[in-house]
């Protein structure tokens, strides 16, 4: 049986300015990589703060590793690593000194642990440079290193790839994949880079205006989202689309804002489609299949898909 790492029932948080979380119910099982998707102010960070004990919910209950009482929640939090919003670093200290501070907070006696996590996030050669002089990406890596210090069983990461360069994003993904696959660490990650989140997460929670509007597994996403065919042509797109609608007898062919013609892959004989285009002497500049897309799924879900 899989253990539940985090469980929320009717969790709400209300501020004088409005509702940040509204009756949220969700659970994260051990080993899950849970991608948390939502617009700014949707309530993602508020939930993470509640998990960290920084914010008191106004209603509902929460359990971490099955523990619910205040004292036991505090000890459960020692098994969690956090990176919420921005890395909490002392600018007058270097990377090792910052980690030295947090090692003491966590009661870590292993003197080599700091160097270990620095190597893991690719900052082992940062040397004596003060973190006040770090780039955003370096700060983010060090923030992740702090979250990893206490060998967490559950990692809560709010925008972990924020500010990282493309290589850094890939590196962080590999680190998180390694933690998840090799060490069985459970992950709760929020990110606005949905394409990146899609490569990592096995389960997604979509939050909108404080409400969890949908939970879906990666497999379900693959099934629900359609593979689309995209054709770009120098001929008038409207005429080509109309021709395809008649020849293929499909009403679901549309023209994207980019001018490309898009139609669902299912039920289309690719050979026939290609020969139609050739027979009508329509110049094809590009032809591609688009994979199921978390971004599009999210936009459709919150009603901004434009489809």
């Amino acid at each position: 049986m899989t253990a539940t790492v985090f469980e929320a029932e009717g969790l709400s948080k209300e501020y004088p300015s409005g509702v940040a979380l509204d009756q949220l119910c969700m659970s994260i099982e051990a080993g899950d990589v849970y991608g948390f998707v939502g617009e700014n102010g949707a309530g993602k960070t508020t939930l993470m703060r509640i998990i960290g004990g920084l914010v008191h919910p106004t209603a509902g209950r929460m359990a971490l590793f099955g523990e619910q009482s205040k004292e036991r929640l505090a000890s459960a939090r020692r098994r969690i690593g956090f990176l919420i919003e921005r890395p909490s670093l002392y600018p007058h200290m270097n990377a090792m000194e910052n980690l030295g501070f947090y090692c003491r907070i966590f009661g870590i006696r292993d003197r080599g642990r700091g160097a270990e996590v620095l190597k893991l996030v690719g900052l082992d050669e940062a040397g004596p440079k003060k973190t006040g002089e770090y780039s955003l990406g370096m700060r983010q890596r060090l923030g992740i290193a702090v979250a990893l210090l206490n060998r967490p069983e559950f990692l809560v990461l709010d925008e972990p790839v924020n500010g990282l360069d493309p290589a850094g994003i890939v590196e962080v993904r590999h680190i998180l994949e390694h933690l998840s696959h090799e060490q069985g660490v459970t992950l709760l990650i929020s990110s606005h880079i949905l394409s990146e989140l899609q490569l990592l997460a096995g389960k997604y929670g979509f939050i909108h205006q404080g409400r969890l509007i949908q939970e879906i597994s990666a497999a379900e996403l693959q099934q629900t989202a359609q593979v689309m065919i995209c054709i770009s042509t120098s001929s008038p797109a409207a005429a080509v689309a109309e021709m395809l609608r008649q020849e293929l007898r499909r009403g679901d062919i549309r023209i994207k804002q980019t001018g490309e013609i898009e139609l669902p892959r299912s039920g289309v004989d690719l050979e026939r489609l290609m020969s139609l285009l050739v027979q009508r002497e329509i110049p094809v500049d590009g032809f591609q299949l688009t994979a199921p897309n978390l971004e599009q799924y999210y936009m459709d879900l919150i009603g901004g898909g434009g489809r």
């Binding site: 960290g52 920084l54 914010v55 956090f82 919420i84 921005r86 909490s88 501070f101």
Partner: protein
């Protein structure tokens, strides 16, 4: 709590403000010995006289240490470390009390540093210049010096409690420092301006202010051109309960509010 203390001690060791305050007291002790000596010579009426003289400079502590307490209280909010500390399972109450107790230890260290260095520099100056060192009033000087040391610790504990409360409630270092200034100089004003007020209530406020008590045990409180010191049990009891009340009130407010308020960096 042990982990928290170890981490905060580690922080203080790297903290420029802490190092600066330590350096200020070392330099001040030397400078004051030189200034006093250049005016009245380095002769001492007893070996304990420097302790009593050092007590008259108590006001220096109240201008410097509360500001450090303010920065120390707000640094976790400024740099965000309070987030990681609370998320690591430490309670908000432990976070504050840990910082408060550590600040008190730092205060004790600074008091001992200032008194100790002032004493050593005074003796060294007398020795080097060949100034005479007598034995008159040794016991009285020692008692006055040690009483001032103990009361300074208590009053600085009260100041730190009040100012760390402001820091924890305000959370933004710049605003908290402004509030700390108001508290420090407000106390000076209460003591100085209201003591001659025509209203009995205002005079009572002045009489019960922290700064009035500090001036009294430091031997610098003058009223109607007369030096007034703590004398009698009533004076000493008042000198004890006023800071104790401030400490209790400030700690209670801080712990209650801190527990209820969310931490949003």
């Amino acid at each position: 709590m042990r982990n928290l203390w170890q981490a905060e001690i580690y922080y203080l060791r790297k903290d420029l403000a802490f190092k600066s305050v330590t350096a200020v007291f070392a330099l001040a002790s030397l400078a004051l010995v030189l200034i006093l000596g250049s005016k009245g010579g380095y002769s001492l009426s007893s070996y304990a006289e420097p302790l009593q003289t050092a007590a008259s400079f108590s006001i220096l502590f109240y201008l410097v240490i509360p500001l450090h307490a303010c920065f120390f209280a707000t640094e976790g909010f400024e740099h965000g470390s309070v987030q990681n500390i609370i998320a690591a399972g430490h309670s908000k109450a432990k976070y504050f009390t840990g910082k408060y107790v550590l600040e008190l230890l730092a205060v004790l260290g600074w008091l001992l540093e200032f008194y100790g260095l002032f004493y050593l520099f005074s003796l060294a100056a007398a020795l080097i210049t060949g100034a005479p060192v007598g034995h008159a009033g040794y016991t009285e000087d020692l008692a006055a010096g040690l009483t001032a040391l103990g009361l300074n610790l208590l009053y600085l504990a009260a100041y730190c409690a009040a100012i760390m409360m402001l820091g924890m409630l305000i959370r933004k270092p710049a605003s908290a420092v402004v509030a700390a200034f108001f508290f420090i100089f407000g106390n000076l004003l209460l003591s100085g301006y209201l003591k001659d007020a025509s209203s009995a209530v205002l005079r009572a406020i002045s009489e019960h202010s922290l700064m009035t008590q500090i001036f009294k045990f430091s031997g610098i409180y003058v009223e109607n051109s007369q030096l007034i010191l703590l004398s009698g049990t009533g004076d000493y009891i008042r000198a004890l309960w006023i800071p104790a009340a401030w400490i209790l009130l400030s700690l209670s407010i801080t712990l209650t509010v801190l527990e209820k308020r969310d931490i949003q960096i």
